[in-house]
Structures are given as structure tokens and as C-alpha cells.
């Protein structure tokens, strides 16, 4: 390799032919061709993302209605627009990202971790700006109730979302798990904003926001577990 530039070696390699055992190629070709049937291509990304968005919104609304819309009743118009506006944008971004994670070779602008971090920070920022009651009444007890309810709704949304994504293929299962967990969590956060009447700043900031990273972590763990036991 002495005296040569990397480009020279790479260019020489690029031009060189590479032989594969013809019997191996024939074997592969035969195995693919035998019993070959037409397949239905997956729908476009935007259709799948819209379906996931609709599922997330439906689970959040169903949960909110079932448990009582006590939270949204205490919010003013600005708070409703800010919180649900951010949730809508975060949900759409997560849905798009989730579909691209399940589609090999698709264009990615952000990693799953970046979507999770940016969305969580944005949500926490909105909560911090809107709520200024810094009391901490039954902070842990009420928080755990909200976290559990949020995660339960996330689980429901995750299971429903799986029906949409089941024909996909994750080239990076951990990233796909984080993306799916993040998206599912937003059904839980949406339900909490509709239902939870506790508007203490720290309660909303800590426990409502915590649903997102906890669910994303659970998604990653589940995906790794599924991959190992495949």
C-alpha cells in the first residue's frame, strides 16, 4: 500500500469485478423463484402515519371521555391551544418517524433519540410556561396514578399501532422500539391532559412528561427482547 493514496486503492477496487459462485447464485435464485407469489406493497408513508396519528388521538380521547374530561375543563383557550398544538405536532412527527423506522432505506432527518428528546423538552417547556402553581400536594401518590394511567393508554395505543405497522421491517429494532414507545406514550399524555384536573406545575412537568421517556424505554426493551427471541 506504500506511496498510494486511499482514492487510488478505492478507485482500483471499484473497477474490479467480483465473482460469486454460480451454483450459489442458482441455488438462491431457485429458492426465491419456487412458489413466488405477488405481494401487496405497503401503503405510502403518509397514509400509515395518518393511521397511527388517528389511533393515538382516538385512544387519548376515548380514555379522556371514559375517565372524565375534568382536566380540559380547567384549562383556558390559550392553554388548550398550546398543549394540544404541541401534542399534535409531536404526535405527527413521531408517527412519521415510526413509519420510516419500519421502512428500510427511507430518508431520515432525525434519530429516534432526537425525536424523543426534542419532543419531551418541547412538551416540558410548554408545561413550564403555562403552569405556575408550585404546590406539591400528594406529589408521589398522584404522580404514580397519572404515570400508570398514561402508560396503560400508551400500551393500548401501541397494540393498536402494531396492527398498522406489522407488515413493516425494522432494520434497527431498538430505534424502532424507541420510536414506537414515544408515539404510543402520546396517547397517554393526551388522555392525561384531557382528564387530570391536577394543574400543579411540578405534577404536570414531572409525571405527565415522564410518560414519554418511560414508554420509549419500554419500547426499546421490548424490541430488544423480541429481537433476541426471534
Amino acid at each position: 500500500m506504500n506511496g498510494r493514496e486511499p482514492e487510488e486503492i478505492l478507485n482500483r477496487a471499484a473497477g474490479a469485478p467480483h465473482e460469486v459462485d454460480p451454483t450459489l447464485l442458482a441455488r438462491i435464485s431457485d429458492s426465491l423463484v419456487s412458489g413466488l407469489r405477488p405481494v401487496r406493497p405497503r401503503p405510502p408513508i403518509w397514509i400509515l402515519a395518518s393511521a397511527l396519528f388517528a389511533i393515538t388521538a382516538a385512544v387519548a380521547m376515548a380514555g379522556g371521555v371514559a375517565l372524565g374530561l375534568k382536566g380540559i375543563a380547567k384549562l383556558d383557550a390559550l392553554e388548550i391551544a398550546s398543549i394540544f398544538g404541541v401534542l399534535g405536532v409531536f404526535t405527527w412527527t413521531s408517527a412519521l418517524h415510526c413509519v420510516t423506522e419500519m421502512t428500510p432505506g427511507s430518508r431520515r432527518r432525525l434519530s429516534s433519540g432526537a425525536v424523543l428528546a426534542a419532543g419531551s423538552l418541547l412538551l416540558a417547556g410548554v408545561f413550564a410556561l403555562l403552569f405556575h402553581d408550585y404546590r406539591t400536594t400528594r406529589f408521589v401518590h398522584q404522580g404514580l396514578v397519572c404515570l400508570t394511567l398514561g402508560l396503560a393508554h400508551g400500551l393500548a395505543a401501541g397494540l393498536a399501532g402494531w396492527l398498522v405497522l406489522r407488515r413493516g421491517f425494522a432494520v434497527n429494532p431498538t430505534a424502532a422500539g424507541v420510536a414506537a414507545g414515544t408515539l404510543a406514550s402520546l396517547a397517554g399524555v393526551g388522555m392525561l391532559e384531557l382528564h387530570c384536573p391536577n394543574l400543579e406545575a411540578l405534577h404536570v412537568l414531572v409525571w405527565h412528561t415522564a410518560v414519554v421517556p418511560v414508554s420509549a424505554f419500554a419500547g426499546a426493551v421490548l424490541a430488544r427482547f423480541a429481537m433476541r427471541n426471534r
Binding site: E7, L10, V20, L32, V39, G105
Partner: protein, 181 residues
């Protein structure tokens, strides 16, 4: 390699169940795919196994190819996944079977590489896997930066950065070899 426009048409026909298109894809794409595996510091036996596994996986998930999209990023994204999956399984089996012995060394595998690729394999062996993938796809398989970004699930900026870092490392290695000799 065939132009991507032909690959797109063949993929559509493959999805529609055309056996001629399936065979044409296997014969047209297996050479570069096999080379991709060979340059990732694996032996010919591993490369053969990975090639077969990749085509089986492609066959299983051929419905995930989106019509009109470039074929190569889709194909190499699956190939990279198969390689990672394969190594994981091999490591698991070998850890169980030979607790004391070390895993086969990269150098031993490289010895099996063809003479033509020997320089290249040696040159790339010191690079981190992600940079090696980028350089192989960009320079050896002649894929565009956009295609490499899609195949590696990263951004165009990240691919450019990895390629730049890889070049810096390769130049330093070559300069070091020159000085020593």
C-alpha cells in the same frame, strides 16, 4: 451494476410475482452484495452465508419496497441488518460452545479474501464499522451520498462526516506505513 431505473422496474415485477425479474435481481445484485460482505472483514464462507440470508430476508420483506424509491438503499439497509443479526447469532452460539477460546480473529478471515481485494480489506480493516460501511458504499459500490444516508439510516451530513473522518484515518495509516518502510 445495472442502472437504478432498471432495478426499480425489476423490483416492481418481483413484487408482482415475476420469476424472471427475481432471477435477474439475484444475478445483477449478488456480486456487489457479496463484495460488501467480503470487505466487512468476513471470510468467503461467511459472505456466502450472509448473501443467502440477505436474499431470504429480502424475499420475506419485499412488500416493504416502496415503488419509485431507489432500490439500493433498501437492499443495503436489509443487508446491514442481516449482517448484524448474523454476527449476534454466531457470537451467541460460539460463546456457548467455546467459553474459553477466543472468537475467530478478523485477520484470519481476511486471509481468505481474494488477492484483488486484499489491499482494500487491509486498508479498511482499521476503520470503525460505520465508517467502513460508508466508504465501501460510496467508493466501491459507487452509491450516492443520499443513497448511503438512506441505507445507513442516517443523515446526509452524518455520511459526509463519516467519509471525511475515514479518509483522514486512511491517509494517516498510509503515511505511517510509508514512513516505517
Amino acid at each position: 451494476m445495472q442502472p437504478d431505473i432498471d432495478l426499480k422496474a425489476l423490483m416492481v415485477r418481483y413484487q408482482d410475482g415475476d420469476p424472471v425479474a427475481a432471477a435477474a435481481l439475484v444475478h445483477g445484485l449478488s456480486g456487489p452484495l457479496h463484495r460488501f460482505f467480503m470487505l466487512q472483514t468476513v471470510s468467503r464462507r461467511y459472505a456466502d452465508d450472509l448473501l443467502q440470508e440477505t436474499w431470504l430476508r429480502i424475499h420475506e420483506v419485499r412488500h416493504t419496497y416502496r415503488r419509485g424509491e431507489p432500490v439500493l438503499p433498501w437492499l443495503y439497509a436489509i443487508a446491514r441488518h442481516v449482517r448484524v443479526d448474523h454476527y449476534r447469532k454466531v457470537r451467541r452460539v460460539e460463546t456457548r460452545e467455546q467459553q474459553v477460546e477466543q472468537l475467530p480473529e478478523i485477520a484470519a478471515a481476511q486471509a481468505e479474501a481474494s488477492d484483488r481485494d486484499a489491499d482494500l480489506a487491509a486498508l479498511l480493516s482499521g476503520l470503525p464499522e460505520s465508517q467502513r460501511d460508508v466508504i465501501t458504499m460510496l467508493k466501491v459500490l459507487n452509491m450516492s451520498i443520499e443513497e448511503v444516508a438512506r441505507a445507513t439510516s442516517s443523515s446526509v451530513g452524518s455520511v459526509k462526516q463519516k467519509a471525511h473522518r475515514a479518509y483522514v484515518t486512511l491517509r494517516e495509516r498510509l503515511a505511517g506505513t510509508k514512513v516505517r518502510s
